[in-house]
Symmetry: C2
Subunit: 232 residues, 2 copies
Amino acid sequence: MSSTKTCSTSLSTANVLEAALSGDERQGRLAAGQDPAKRQQILEGADRVFSTMGFDAASMNDITREAGVSKGTIYVYFDSKEELFLELCIGYRDKLFSGIYSAFEGNHNLRDALIAFGKALSIKVTSDMVIRSQRVVIGVAQRMPSMSRSFYEQGPKKGQAIVKAFLEKHVAAGDLEIEDTELATHQLSDLMMSGLFKRRLFGFTDKEPTEEEINRAVIGGVDMFLRAYGKR
Amino acid sequence: MSSTKTCSTSLSTANVLEAALSGDERQGRLAAGQDPAKRQQILEGADRVFSTMGFDAASMNDITREAGVSKGTIYVYFDSKEELFLELCIGYRDKLFSGIYSAFEGNHNLRDALIAFGKALSIKVTSDMVIRSQRVVIGVAQRMPSMSRSFYEQGPKKGQAIVKAFLEKHVAAGDLEIEDTELATHQLSDLMMSGLFKRRLFGFTDKEPTEEEINRAVIGGVDMFLRAYGKR
DNA sequence: AGGGGATCGAACCACTTGGTTCGAAAAAAG
DNA sequence: CTTTTTTCGAACCAAGTGGTTCGATCCCCT
């Protein structure tokens, strides 16, 4: 252990503090390890390294090089390789499910809404960035169970709840006939990416799906879903 | 532990050689690096280590310890850590899809056949062993693309071909009405494990699914499939 | 202009890595 | 038995690991 005693976990507390202390533009000299831009710079470099090497094969020297930040500075912002990784994974998880579920709003036609949602979902989930981050998380799931579990809980699971609520609304409205809405929720999400997701995850295709491929899966999936659960 | 090996997988070269040299029981002194039992012993130890640590975090010393074989001997049987890993992955892939597709035979009723297949598939794919090996393969997919691609091609993709042929047979027989059988193949496989696979892969649940959970997904999936594609 | 502190960068630390070497032990062959 | 050869086990290697230290910069603030 050692000298440098800068408040370790920082960030949120510091930001909150700043915001509380001064409502106007806060531009004073930043304490060590408190510059959000530098923090971001480190995270972006770490992202590039982790998402191509995985956690274990990535070295802090690689990250140093890729981020263009000295090693000492990195260790002022983050206490350890693992902590840096954990924060990055939170970013992965949040990025994964941003701006998908808004597709439900604005489309009053059920089929259109499902298709819009399906496209947004499957485009994002099969994108290079997201596939790489999923690989990294899955790769360490065995040894870091709590983190990958929280990744799933805070990410996919929350998304499922939104979909489920949407389906239940339409069941109540009489558009859909579903007994097991939870199961139907998973079925819908899986159908949206049938034939796309696993191929990408296992690296069978290193190119993102084309628009045709997305359409084929999504429209095919939605139509199947509606044929099975649509009111007849 | 160890020994008692039906040497079901791998070591093809050694077997072929033996078989070619003598038709009768071959029991002479084995050349260095040629004992199938020892080879298997190494592979089993390596399996335990790789599938809990992943490729990069696993060390050859760990494997030495776990397999109960000296390091020198390991390097007589395998040229490098990576080669050992590659051979192990071939074992993973072969184990994954053994004995699943036989479920199609014997059930003349379409629904029963689909359910039998679905149960076999989803039980195997969500089992501890197979989940772990999938995590390992996915974890290195970014850096060893050719190997994970071949894993997918020789494994899941071949399985899909069998399912597709089965579906096409029933389309021809008039039991099913499917336009895009390839898509339907993926849909069927994904539906069999809806709500089970990803949870397991991300470590959200560390227990294998119960029989009820399997039934719920499989029967729900098959019924949905038949409602969408069954002849009306 | 000058002082203070965040950042740099390179050396450094103890330790582990994949891989090799080599004499001793073990076991099968003759 | 002796010989032969695989295996053991431990030492060994160079390279790289995560992490620390420290003087030299550089930049912001007064």
